[in-house]
């Protein structure tokens, strides 16, 4: 079975400061890992993905994540938060022998001016 745990249900940051969203995964096989963002009343947008290539993955809008197998983690970071980053973020796991995506519970990011 595979699952993800997002360690923070809510993160609040000031504009221009770094953002860190934490995710731990559990998978019996080599996983593929993703971060998706969901803005209010919008669908899910893929930020970045890890698929067994480079462990440091760069995504859109300045986000990046590092796959650490020893820690079973896939934390998402951004050096400088923007007001438009306020949204819900989901860490997601899948693997080759399973067709579905398994989502974490989500982290709500608020950005203070």
């Amino acid at each position: 079975a595979q699952s993800v745990t997002q360690l923070d249900s809510h993160v609040s940051v000031s504009e221009g400061t770094p953002v860190l969203l934490r995710c731990n995964y559990s998978s019996s096989y080599s996983p593929s890992l993703f971060w998706y963002v969901q803005h209010p009343n919008k669908g899910l947008q893929l930020l970045l993905k890890y698929t067994s290539a480079a462990t440091l993955v760069k995504g859109i809008n300045g986000f990046e994540a590092e796959f650490k197998k020893s820690e079973t983690s896939f934390h998402l970071t951004k050096p400088s938060a923007h007001m438009s980053d306020a949204a819900e973020y989901f860490c997601v796991v899948s693997h080759l022998n399973d067709y579905k995506l398994s989502f974490g519970a989500g982290t709500t990011v608020t950005v203070r001016a």
Partner: protein, 113 residues
């Protein structure tokens, strides 16, 4: 390319009724998955269709059924609606040969009264 499209955008039904939601996949995608996202939670996998057959199913009752057409579009049907079926229903599509290129539609917001 229109991406993944879903209809309708919003829907209001009463308990016991039946509902049909529709999804058109992104051009070139032949695999369609459906997810249920309850308020404040991450999306949960309902089922996936490929070659007009249900390939994998999540932990949802038989009241949830689906169909895929020769043009790869898909329907999600829910019978005997319960209040707890109120949620955002998301459709995702990908090419069968690529597990890591999954795109989501904007969703259908179903409210059951």
């Amino acid at each position: 390319d229109a991406g993944v499209t879903q209809s309708p955008t919003h829907l209001i039904k009463t308990r016991g009724q039946q509902v049909t939601l529709r999804c058109s996949p992104k051009s070139g995608h032949d695999t369609v998955s459906w997810y249920q996202q309850a308020l404040g939670q991450g999306p949960q996998f309902i089922f996936q269709y490929y070659e007009e057959e249900e390939r994998q199913r999540g932990n949802f009752p038989d009241r949830f059924s689906g169909h895929q057409f020769p043009n790869y579009s898909s329907e999600l049907n829910v019978n005997a609606l319960l209040l707890g079926d109120s949620a955002l229903y998301l459709c995702a599509s990908r090419p069968d040969r690529n597990y890591n290129e999954q795109f989501f539609g904007p969703g259908t917001r179903l409210t059951v009264l």
